[in-house]
Structures are given as structure tokens and as C-alpha cells.
């Protein structure tokens, strides 16, 4: 139970931090914010990697995790790249 309260604490604090930071993002950058945060939600990749590579695990668990690795990698790679591409377009007159 203690362990659960610990990670619940982390969860709640992270949401508060999230609210604080995100409210400061100007509407101009809302689309890159969505694609960039989407890339960050691809963090499930680390869970997927561990399960896909587990040596003593069942084959089914590995195959499920393998598909998860593909999806999460698309999110991470595609998300960060497309956000970078978009953000580079926002500029002042030079």
C-alpha cells in the first residue's frame, strides 16, 4: 500500500506541474504542443521494450509487447520529428 501511495503522489504532483506549464503555452503553439506531448506519451515504449525483450517470458507476452514497441516508436519518432518540422516554421521577420 505504501508503494501505491508513493506513486500516487508522483502522479498527482506531475498533473499539477503539467497544468502549470501547459497553461503558459500560447494558442499559436497549440498544434505543436499536441504533437509534441503525443511524442512524450510514447514513453510507454520503455515498458514495451522490457516486455518484448524478456527472456524467461512466454512467447505471447513478447509478441504483444513487440507490437507495442512498433506503435510506441511510431509515436516517439514521428511525434518529435513532425513537431520539430512545425516549430521551425514559426519565426519572426528576418
Amino acid at each position: 500500500m505504501d508503494g501505491f501511495v508513493m506513486i500516487l503522489t508522483v502522479f498527482v504532483l506531475a498533473i499539477v506541474v503539467g497544468f502549470e506549464i501547459i497553461t503558459k503555452v500560447p494558442p499559436t503553439l497549440h498544434t505543436p504542443l499536441m504533437s509534441g506531448s503525443n511524442a512524450i506519451s510514447g514513453i510507454t515504449i520503455i515498458g514495451a521494450l522490457v516486455l518484448a525483450g524478456q527472456m524467461d517470458s512466454s512467447h505471447l507476452a513478447q509478441v504483444l509487447a513487440f507490437v507495442a514497441v512498433i506503435f510506441a516508436t511510431i509515436n516517439v519518432v514521428g511525434g518529435f520529428l513532425v513537431t520539430d518540422r512545425m516549430l521551425k516554421m514559426f519565426r519572426k521577420k528576418d
Partner: protein
């Protein structure tokens, strides 16, 4: 091999990098660097994970390779007008990844002799399965509606048909196959349930309308079924097919919830699904007891919730109304004839050029129509031309203009419009009376003064850009057809309004030529 404490310390560093990365998005000047810091944080987290144990590398390398290629190609090829579709689709991938990780963890734990999942893992697995599945199927529907192949009656292109029928077929056949193959082990009710949910999803996705009779009852039923199955998974985690049946039921719910939502509400839906994909990742963090997943997932969840709120506020509607309400003309909405008859003045490019010649301040109000007509570059050319003649040109952007939050800003940025010219609604409205010419291109409901004047209108109370207060308003539009709200716009009949009936891009090009010749 790194020891677990060290790995967790590295995860903390990644989490900090995500936070500082997002902080960078507070300003366009620091945003590129912010995004790269977040990306670096991801690389650090992945590296630490891969060094944390000895792994069977086959699936890891293959999965990362396939995902990287697909992701990179999508990111490089996607057109800026198609950003909403892409973000919609990627939200779904996030949801799918979360379900699969939770499912895989469940299999791994329950098949290990002598180990059984604890309460936290069981509940988190259920939460991940339900949220993840609603996200995945909801996002697919959002993608399909944005790419205009779901819930439409018109003829589809080949690629649209391939995706639409292909996806339906895969889900239906997959459900039936899984149901049949687990008939022995999982018992008849569960296997039939899996078959049914697969068939139901496949069938509903073929519907050519976004609403059908009994839809709301089915939504409620599927919510109850998903939650009840969730309780059963917690009580009996060893029967993995219960988990997949729950995912199937939640999938039906995800399809139903998104299918009934109209085009104008797409920005809300995309933001909400973005939030869900984050929450699914956070829930996955509870499944595998991992802080960095929880932190990143909550950041994304919070971001999506804030965007959802902003979008709802910009339409003066509650989230419940967006998700479950029906928007459209009511019986006391005036007819087109009452509003427009004899009062609408059509204009020409030459007349607009004459107006612009005497103007000092011009504001351009873009809407989804600008994206459809791909007119952003032409608009920029017109603005440049006017600026060369010492006319001040700004852009007024309504929060729900377009199909996702910030859609117009990205399109104009792509056309090299400097970001400090992109003004927010609240910033520009007080100065609207000093504007000589307001040019509305492809926007309708967000400039409809009825929102201020008629408390019975479906858009009553929605904040709008007060273009009617400008000296002259030029509206570029193909016809007098209504916007998403389905109501006539008295702006078009006002004394200071001129209609230029034309395709968005062609209209702007004609105005550019007329200004040059004037």
C-alpha cells in the same frame, strides 16, 4: 548492466527533461530547443532501459526499426493541412501501445508459476485497457472523420476505401478468429462476447451516418459492460481473455462516443483523445510500477485537459454538451430568406482593391475554408503586397478555427507569416472598430454576431471575432451556405459587409492582381 536504482535515477533525469522541454513551448523562440530537449529525454530513457537488463534483442530491434521508419516517413511526408488527421492517428497509436503493454504484462505475470498480480497492478491494468481502447478506437474514428471516409455518404477514393473496409474487416475477422480460437480455454460466454464486439465495431464503422437510433442507449450499455468486465478482470486476472473482452467492449464505446461528434467539435475531440492517450500511458505506469511513465503520462493528460477546456470555452459549451449534445438549428432559428433577402451585396476583386487602397489597417480572419482551399500562401502574398503599401495587416485567429487547436497558426507559419502577426481573439476584438477592412476567408460561425445578440441561437454566448464592428467586412465564401452550426449568418446581410462569392484561393489571387493593377 545498470542497477535498478541507477536506472530510476536516469528516469528522473528524463522526466525533468520532458518538463523543461514542455516549458520551452511557452514561446516560439525557445520551442524548437524545448522539443529537442524532450526528444533527448526520450533517448536517455530508452538507453537506460536497454542497459538495465539482459535482453532477447530480436523483437526489440525489429520493432524499433519498423516503428522508426514508419514514424519518420509519416513525419516528413505529412502536409500541414493534414496535421489534425496525423495527430488523431498518433493519439490512437499511443492508446494501442498502452493496451498492449498492459496485456503483455498481464500475460507475463499470470503465466509465471507462483506469482499473482497485486491489487494495484490489476486495477491499473483494467484502467489501461479501458482508457487505451477508448483512445485507440475513438482516435481511429476521429482520423476517419477528418480524412472524410467515415460516416459520410459520398463516393470514396481508393485509398479511403482500402482503409475503411480494410480496418472494419480486420477488426471483425480478428474478433471472430480470437473468439473461435479461445472457445475451449476461456469458455463460451467470453469467446462469444469477443466475437460480438469485433463484429459490432466492424459493422458500426461501415455506417454512413454519424448517428443511428438506439445509439445513446448502446453507449450507456457499453459503459456498464466495460466497467463490469473490469471488475471481473480484477477478480479473475488469470483468465486473460476477460481482459481482451473488456478491451473489445471499451472499443465499441470508443467508436460510439466519437462517431456522433460533428465536424465543428473536432478540435475538442482531438484534444480530449490527446488527454486520454496520456492518461493511458500514466495508467500503464501504475501497471509496471514505473515513475517516468506516470510523470510523462500525467503531463500529457494535463495538457490535453487544458486544451479541451480552452476549446469548450471558445464555443461556450460544456464538455458534456459536446460529447452528448446535438447542435443545429432550432425551430425559432430564422430562415435564410428572412436574414438574407435583398440585403446581401456581392462584390468584385476590383471593388475590394479600391477599398484596400484607402485602408490603413486590415485584419484577415481565416477559418477551415482557408485550409481546404490551401489558400494560406496566397493570403500571405496579399498581406505582403499590402504591407509594401504601408498598410498594417494582422491575422485574427479564433481558438476553434480549423480542425484542431492552433491549426490556423501552423498553416500561416508554414506560409512564412511571422508569429507576432497572429493575434488572439481577445487581443484583437477591442481594436476591431479601428479596422478599415476585415477579410473573412473560410470562416463562418466564429464571426456570426448572432452569438452576441440572440440568446436562443445554438451558438448563443460563444465568443466570436467582432468583424461586424470593422468599417468594412469582406467575406470570401463560395455561397451563402451555413457553417457547422447550420444557422444563417446576419453578418452577410449587414450594411458594412460585402460578399465575394468565390473559391478561397482564387479569390485571394484575383484580389492580389486587382491591387497590383489599381
Amino acid at each position: 548492466m545498470l542497477n535498478p536504482s541507477l536506472v530510476n535515477a536516469v528516469y528522473l533525469i528524463s522526466a525533468m527533461m520532458f518538463i523543461f522541454g514542455l516549458k520551452g513551448l511557452a514561446h516560439p523562440r525557445t520551442a524548437v530547443r524545448g522539443n529537442r530537449i524532450a526528444a533527448l529525454g526520450m533517448i536517455v530513457a530508452i538507453a537506460a532501459t536497454l542497459l538495465s537488463n539482459r535482453f532477447d534483442w530480436h523483437y526489440i530491434i525489429l520493432g524499433v526499426a519498423i516503428g522508426s521508419v514508419l514514424g519518420a516517413v509519416a513525419a516528413m511526408k505529412v502536409k500541414m493541412t493534414a496535421m489534425p488527421e496525423m495527430v488523431g492517428l498518433f493519439n490512437g497509436f499511443g492508446g494501442a501501445a498502452s493496451i498492449l503493454v498492459a496485456g503483455s504484462a498481464l500475460v507475463a505475470v499470470t503465466q509465471q508459476a507462483g506469482s499473482s498480480p497485486d491489487m494495484q497492478m490489476k486495477v491499473a491494468t483494467v484502467a489501461t485497457g479501458i482508457i487505451g481502447s477508448v483512445t485507440f478506437f475513438g482516435s481511429y474514428v476521429a482520423f476517419g472523420k477528418l480524412a472524410e471516409f467515415l460516416a459520410v455518404k459520398w463516393k470514396l477514393y481508393l485509398w479511403q476505401r482500402v482503409i475503411k473496409y480494410g480496418f472494419s474487416l480486420i477488426i471483425a475477422a480478428g474478433g471472430v478468429w480470437l473468439g473461435v480460437s479461445v472457445m475451449e480455454t476461456a469458455g463460451k460466454p467470453i469467446s462469444v462476447g469477443i466475437m460480438l464486439s469485433g463484429l459490432l465495431i466492424g459493422l458500426i464503422l461501415l455506417s454512413k451516418k454519424d448517428r443511428f437510433p438506439g445509439m445513446d442507449a448502446l453507449k450507456i450499455a457499453m459503459t456498464i459492460v466495460s466497467l463490469a468486465l473490469g471488475v471481473m478482470v480484477v477478480m479473475n486476472p488469470a483468465n486473460q481473455m476477460l481482459f481482451w473482452l473488456m478491451v473489445g467492449a471499451a472499443g465499441v464505446l470508443g467508436v460510439l462516443l466519437t462517431l456522433s461528434i460533428g465536424g465543428a467539435d473536432m478540435p475538442v475531440v482531438i484534444a480530449l483523445l490527446n488527454s486520454y492517450s496520456g492518461l493511458a500511458a500514466a495508467a500503464t505506469g501504475f501497471v509496471i510500477n514505473n515513475n517516468v511513465l506516470i510523470i510523462s503520462g500525467s503531463l500529457v493528460g494535463a495538457s490535453g485537459i487544458i486544451l479541451t477546456q480552452i476549446m469548450c470555452k471558445a464555443m461556450n459549451r460544456s464538455l458534456a454538451n459536446v460529447l452528448f449534445g446535438v447542435m443545429g438549428p432550432t425551430s425559432d432559428t430564422p430562415s435564410d430568406d428572412e436574414v438574407y433577402a435583398g440585403k446581401v451585396k456581392a462584390t468584385s476583386a476590383e471593388e475590394i482593391a479600391m477599398l484596400l487602397d484607402g485602408a490603413q489597417r486590415v485584419v484577415i480572419i481565416p477559418g477551415y475554408g482557408m485550409a481546404v482551399a490551401q489558400a494560406q500562401h496566397a493570403v500571405r502574398d496579399l498581406a505582403n503586397l499590402l504591407e509594401q503599401r504601408d498598410i498594417q495587416v494582422d491575422y485574427a485567429i479564433h481558438p476553434v478555427a480549423g480542425r484542431m487547436p492552433g491549426h490556423m497558426n501552423v498553416l500561416l507559419a508554414e506560409a512564412n507569416v511571422e508569429y507576432d502577426k497572429l493575434r488572439e481573439m481577445d487581443e484583437i476584438n477591442p481594436t476591431m472598430a479601428q479596422v478599415d477592412v476585415a477579410i473573412v476567408i473560410g470562416a463562418n460561425d466564429v464571426v456570426n454576431p448572432v452569438a452576441r445578440t440572440d440568446p436562443n441561437s445554438p451558438i448563443a454566448g460563444m465568443p466570436i471575432i467582432d468583424v461586424d464592428k470593422a468599417r468594412t467586412v469582406v467575406v470570401i465564401k463560395r455561397s451563402l451556405s451555413p457553417g457547422f452550426a447550420g444557422i444563417p449568418n446576419p453578418l452577410f446581410a449587414m450594411d458594412n459587409a460585402l460578399m465575394f462569392f468565390n473559391d478561397g484561393k482564387k479569390a485571394i489571387l484575383e484580389i492580389v492582381n486587382a491591387v497590383k493593377e489599381y
